[in-house]
């Protein structure tokens, strides 16, 4: 049976146990026996015991068997193939699994067919075993619970303990995800730093990731791959700066106007409309930047006699700035609203005008929160991917001219990892090192921002 049918089968078994156990306890109850818990708790207990262990085993087996088959199949690979220079486990596996799936690309060596045959055998055996194991586990679990249907058994407490365990387990997913992210990035990064020294990665000023031995375009000589990430960070920085010069003034002034001057009616309309900007998918912004903004900037620049690259940092930064306006304005709005009215009243009492109050009293008081909102916007800008992939280009220029084409950390990660890649090469691994630095930067920014917000909140509470 396939995993899906097995899942449905144990669901049906659990449902059956629910009815049986429910019926058993309610009929005894009707006969006058006093039970500790309501009948449906006995039913639920039986159903949970019939479902959960069997389902857990099913999950493990469904995910795990491929892993086991892979390592078993490696035994079929002849030693001389393993010893050869361009031996790649991934490719060998693809050869074997293709034959298993019935996809044939020309003639394969004999050992591939042998491995595939064996694989099919294991697959059949494991499917049979899995079916028997899961079904019987489900039946046994339910049976065990059914036999406990007696007045003394506290089924409600048992069910509640199980539910509590499920709740606690699902909250552990967050930790597992973090561990998964750290694992997937750290190991590959370490392997990368074994190939390329950390100092070169952090301080090198040329980024030219080529597959080993690839010819450098145009030069006719074998280019050396260099992994100096400074141009990428400079590009990220440049685009973020452009984005901030758009979003900070616009966001901040709109926040001030909305929280201090606007009538409730205006506020009720304008605020959600501005937040629409944050809801537009980034791929749409990327399309807008590449097809509307970049050509516009280029033609405007040309008419002014400036040399503008067709994929300029200005276009990407401008559009990214539009995207993060709501991040700046919403949070700034909140912190401005959180400034106690007493401060404003005191300023009015001294005869200051509304704008003087805002500028000299409210803004200084809200400054930490405003700074935090800007930091959060920066972290958003640094991590943003689609806009830069579509509009900023891939030229790793070390330039601070917003009219030049630059590239960013995220767009390099995407370019390197999209499509087929060799897992062993320094080029692929470099994407993981970039991701690691990206995570460190964004989390750092968030940490600082949240600390500021926290401190600020305490001040007025």
């Amino acid at each position: 049976m396939s995993s899906l049918t097995l899942g449905i089968a144990i669901l049906i078994i659990s449902a059956a146990y629910f009815f049986v156990a429910n019926r058993a306890s309610s009929s005894q109850r009707a006969a006058g026996t006093k039970f500790h818990s309501l009948p449906h708790y006995y039913g639920l207990y039986a159903a949970l015991l019939a479902f959960l262990p069997a389902f857990a085993i099913l999950l493990v087996l469904a995910i795990g068997d491929d892993l086991v088959f892979r390592s078993l199949a490696l035994d079929f690979v002849p030693d001389e193939v393993k010893a050869s220079k361009n031996y790649k486990e991934v490719i060998v596996m693809a050869q074997i699994t293709n034959v298993v799936d019935g996809i044939n690309f020309g003639e394969q060596p004999d050992w591939v067919y042998a491995a595939a045959e064996a694989w099919k055998g294991w697959d059949a055996t494991s499917t049979t075993l899995r079916t028997i194991l899961v079904i019987s586990l489900s039946l046994l679990g339910g049976m065990f619970a059914y036999r406990q249907v007696n007045p003394g058994f506290r089924s409600r407490n048992a069910v509640e303990r199980i539910i509590m365990t499920i709740l606690a387990a699902s909250s552990a997913i967050a930790i597992l995800t973090t561990i998964g992210i750290v694992f997937s990035v750290i190991f590959e990064s370490l392997r990368f730093f074994a190939l390329v020294p950390v100092s070169e990665f952090l301080f090198g000023t040329t980024w030219n990731p080529q597959f080993e031995g690839a010819e450098r375009a145009g030069s006719g000589q074998m280019g050396l791959a260099t992994y100096g990430s400074v141009p990428l960070f400079a590009g990220t920085f440049l685009i973020s700066i452009v984005a901030l010069t758009v979003s900070v003034p616009v966001g901040l002034f709109s926040a001030i106007y909305l929280s201090e001057y606007a009538t409730p009616k205006v506020r009720a309309v304008v605020k959600p409309v501005m937040e629409l900007l944050a809801g537009v998918p980034t791929v749409v912004y990327g399309f807008f930047a590449a097809l509307t903004v970049a050509p516009f900037i280029r033609s405007t620049g040309m008419s002014l006699g400036l040399d503008v690259a067709s994929e300029s940092a200005l276009a990407a930064g401008l559009v990214m700035g539009i995207m993060i306006i709501p991040f700046v304005s919403s949070l700034s709005d909140d912190v401005i609203n959180a400034v106690p009215q007493a401060l404003r009243d005191a300023a009015y009492g001294l005869g200051s005008t509304h704008s003087e109050t805002v500028r000299q009293v409210v803004l200084p008081a809200a400054l930490p929160g405003v700074v935090a909102s800007i930091l959060l916007a920066v972290s958003r800008a640094v991590g943003e991917t689609m806009i830069v992939v579509m509009a900023a280009g891939l030229a790793a220029n070390l330039s601070f001219n917003p009219l030049d084409a630059v590239t960013t950390v995220t767009s390099q990660i995407v370019t390197i990892l999209v499509g087929d890649q060799e897992f062993e090469s320094a080029k692929t691994l470099s994407a993981f090192a970039l991701a690691l630095t990206l995570i460190v930067i964004t989390l750092g920014l968030n940490f600082v921002a949240l600390q500021i917000v926290k401190k600020y909140r305490e001040q007025y509470e």
């Binding site: 106007y257 998918p281 579509m390 999209v418 993981f432």
Partner: protein, 434 residues
Amino acid sequence: MSDVTKGRISPDVAASRVAAGLAARRSKEKRFQLYGKIAIGIALAFLVTLFVSIFSKGIPGFFQHYVTLEVTLDRAKLDPAGDLSVQSLYDGDARGVIRKALYEATGASGRSGRKAAGKIISGGAEQRLREAVLNDPSILDTTQSMTFAVDDDVDSFLRGFIKRETPEKDRRINDRMIGYIDTLTEQGLISFQFSDYLIFGSASRNAEMAGIFGALIGSILTLAVCLVLSFPMGVATAVYLEEFAPKNRVTELIEININNLAAVPSVVFGILGLAIFIGIFGMPRSIPLIGGVVLALMTLPTIIISSRAAIRAVPPSIRDAALGVGASRMQTMLHHVVPLAMPGMLTGTIIGMAQALGETAPLLMIGMVAFIVDVPGSVTDPGTVLPVQIFMWADFAERMFVLKTSAAIMVLLAFLILMNAAAIIIRKKLERRW
């Protein structure tokens, strides 16, 4: 100046000094307000520009040019084996049948004339003819008036993007083709209609045949996986953290983790999917299952945070009342608090799903960017999603792809607006204020 601060001036002098500065201060006040208005104006102008730029290209993108031909459906040519099997129809000469009708309509003759005329019609016309025959075999051996899409270059010409005045060697269609197109137009055979290819077509390198159907199904499958995983897990986590978790290091660690995950850039979740699910578990690339799992992990923090807020908003008196009549803590939670918090949780989930629907970068990393013609039938079939489709189309230079990309964006935005509207309605209708 120290005299002033010590207040040694008379009230009259002080009043006159204040009055002297008043005009300047009032105009400053006005200017400050104006800055605020300008800022909001700029933000709204950006929004309008964005929408106008997308809609002005997207609305024409929902339409394309079709040509109506009188096609003689000669059975011997179309169905050589005579059994109406798909194989037989593919062996048949659907192309020749359509061409013949086209030559008659345009009056094309000679080798180069026929070649030029043949280029007018889309390569997808044959498939359309075969489908029509399969649906209704009785039309065989009759003459039917059938509508086919024109080639995307011809479409661009008809829309005026390819100019007649351009020298012949610089444009993608030659004078002879223009002549035939004019003949067809004069006969009223060319029509500008709603593009059924856009909605029901799948990925294609031919702009006139490209459509979003496959991507839409892929998006639905991916979102379904995402919802099935993230909603129960998110709600369970929120319930645990708000109501049951002991205040200890582990709980604190979980909370820090959730906040951090909310801040991690979305590409990183793609790397997680690539390294763990594809690299270690050896699952295939490009499948909605992995896409859904990755998006679920990404949206989990959003759902958890909003669900916690919803649970916190349920007043303690509800809990006290339930506990007071003898309910257990779990019963209080499941029978009272969770149902009361459900509107808030649903709102958060819908907003999370809307985020997931628009997400592109992590799905690129797990290979959903592959060119896949078949519509995915299940979560383990390779597929793509709407935003990724938009990303791929945005790379193509053909004018018609630009229009169709904008149209696809409008479809995506329509879904997002629908979801957000649903969230707002749920919040307005169901959420109780205590």
